[in-house]
């Protein structure tokens, strides 16, 4: 067990190094959401917006936590799916499977290092919001933020592993990742504050995992919600998605490349914007 923890620790460090040494991936995960925050505030001004759920809050107070959540979801879900499927095509997963490294330790390293990247991305986002745009944090509700963040990132990391199982090659993974997370961003109070959307969109947003993550996190920062700010209903939906992701990953995850998968796709190759 202590050896497994030693492997896990080295694995987390190795995964983090791989991430930070790939500038393109680091830019998309960290840089792009920051640019979006700056752009949104510049475009819409930082005046109060009336939001049906959050009340009268500033543009930055709405966007900083929402985009922080989006960065966290992309650091886990999108990055894990792209990374793992690319490394499967390159035969790296097959190599790992031929060593005494237990599968749970390897995947644990992948997930925990992604959560670490997500934490950095979200802290940078909130830091920019607090420092530049007067975003407010309430210490009383920080525990609710932490619970939302931990459950949300683990959920999206698990879904990233599941997506690796579903996507046969590294070419398919970014397409599926972007085709799922980007539309979700629009109905999840991340890219735009939804004002009286069609009820089926509200329903879809509430059932899919991004909005429960975004709303439970953003609410914990909103000056209008009551302390302590836990949203157990939203957390339950995230936990349900974690279970679904875990089940799909367990059923579909493969260590071997599919025959004929192109190798050497070591570039962080993203087809869409985010």
């Amino acid at each position: 067990m202590s050896r497994d923890l030693g492997i896990l620790w080295r694995s987390i460090r190795a995964e983090s190094r791989i991430f930070w040494r790939s500038p393109v991936g680091a830019f998309f995960t960290l840089g792009l959401p920051l640019i979006m925050l700056v752009l949104f505030v510049a475009l819409f001004g930082n005046d109060s917006i009336g939001h049906p759920e959050y009340g009268d809050i500033t543009t930055a107070q709405f966007y900083a936590p929402g985009l922080g959540v989006f960065a966290a979801a992309s650091a886990t879900y999108t990055n894990i799916a792209i990374n793992l499927s690319m490394r499967r095509d390159d035969g790296i997963l097959k190599r790992v499977r031929g060593t005494p490294i237990p599968p749970w330790v390897f995947l644990g390293g992948v997930i925990l290092s992604a959560v670490w990247v997500a934490l950095v991305a979200t802290i940078v986002m909130l830091g920019l919001g607090v420092a530049a745009y007067g975003v407010e944090l309430e210490l009383d509700k920080v525990p609710a933020m932490i619970v939302s963040f931990v459950v949300g990132t683990i959920c999206f990391a698990t879904l990233g592993v599941a997506l690796t199982g579903v996507a046969k090659t590294a070419a398919a993974a970014p397409a599926i990742a972007n085709a799922t997370i980007l539309p979700m961003g629009f109905i999840s109070d991340v890219f735009i504050p939804l004002d009286d959307p069609p009820s089926w969109l509200t329903w879809a947003g509430n059932v899919l995992p991004l909005k429960p993550f975004a709303v439970s996190f953003t609410d914990a920062m909103s000056p209008f919600t009551a302390t302590p700010g836990f949203q157990w209903g939203r957390i339950a939906i995230l936990l349900a998605w974690t279970a679904v992701g875990g089940f799909v990953a367990w059923k579909t995850f493969r260590w071997e490349p599919v025959p004929g998968a192109p190798k050497g796709r070591r570039r962080r190759n993203r087809s869409a914007v985010v």
Partner: protein, 303 residues
């Protein structure tokens, strides 16, 4: 002597394709064992079953006294696998990579020791993306050796190496065997198998078509010789040349090859035929079968 590997009646099919069709062999401990065969012969599938990467359909397999399909972590702790198709994370340095994998093994070699074995000392802190192809292969080898395996699988270990690098790899492999490590290697290079292996099996069409030491494989066919020559453009009827021969003639682009158990008589006939017509036979030679000839016949490919 105990066997590191015992295989009997091994089969594996992919759909209708019988990739491995009733293969049996044994590898004594401490030997270098080579599996030869063309692409599609079933050697990769066989080795992957031995490594625990693939499950068999039927047959008995014992590797280091364990069943690779169920041996799990304890099994993988005792073997080393050097696969051509298994990549490494190129963003990491050589040292970081070796450090990551070595932690997983009970009997790990020090990074210093393994790096000296594969002669990559001066590249220890270089990212793998900046290494040459040959140097990356040596990282593969280092990862195969880092756990001090009792048995190491080498998949075409010197493909793409220059002759000097190939020599050094051979010395390394021989050194491992001398130290008691069992080595199973697959290769396309006959020369490599001949140089390194204590025993060879030749696979074709999912079956073992020959096995033995390099010497015995050659001897089995040594009653036969090959006469080779080039036939110039002639009007003469070539049936007169070929019909009385004891051996079997094959030709392509006017290069003729006759495999025969009576080389003296056949040669006398051929030269007599040519002299009578005033023809000079281009590049005429007589030789006993090389291991390559034996191999090519076994796998059903003409020279």
């Amino acid at each position: 002597m105990t066997n590191a590997i015992d295989v009997s009646g091994l089969t594996k099919a992919y759909g209708d394709l019988r990739a491995v069709n009733g293969v049996s062999f044994s590898v004594p401990e401490g030997q270098v064992f080579a599996i030869l065969g063309p692409n599609g012969a079933g050697k990769s599938t066989t080795v992957e079953i031995l490594e625990g990467h693939r499950e068999r359909d039927s047959g008995e397999v014992s590797v280091l006294g364990l069943d690779p399909a169920t041996g799990g972590r304890a099994f993988r702790d005792r073997i080393g696998i050097v696969l051509q198709e298994a990549g490494v994370d190129k963003e990491l340095t050589v040292r970081e990579t070796l450090d990551l994998y070595s932690t997983a093994y009970t009997h790990r070699r020090s990074i210093a020791e393994v790096i000296e074995l594969v002669e990559l000392d001066e590249k220890l802190d270089t990212r793998i993306s900046r290494l040459s192809g040959g140097q990356q292969r040596r990282v593969d080898l280092a990862l195969g050796l880092i756990g001090t395996p009792e048995l190491i699988f080498l998949d075409e270990p010197t493909t793409g190496f220059d002759p000097a690098a190939r020599r050094r790899s051979w010395e390394l492999i021989q050194g491992l065997a001398a130290g008691g490590t069992t080595v199973v290697l697959t290769t396309h290079y006959l020369e490599e198998a001949e140089h390194l292996a204590d025993n060879i099996i030749v696979m074709a069409g999912g079956k073992v078509v020959a096995e033995g030491t390099p010497e015995s494989l050659r001897q089995n066919a040594s009653t036969e010789s090959v006469i080779r020559f080039g036939l110039p453009q002639v009007d003469a009827r070539v049936e007169e040349l070929f019909e009385p021969l004891h051996g079997k003639a094959q030709g392509r682009d006017r290069r003729i090859e006759i495999t025969t158990t009576k080389p003296t008589a056949d040669l006398a006939h051929i030269t007599g035929w040519a002299v009578a017509r005033g023809i000079e036979l281009d590049g005429l030679i007589v030789e006993s079968l090389t291991l390559e000839d034996v191999y090519l016949r076994l796998v059903g490919e003409d020279a």
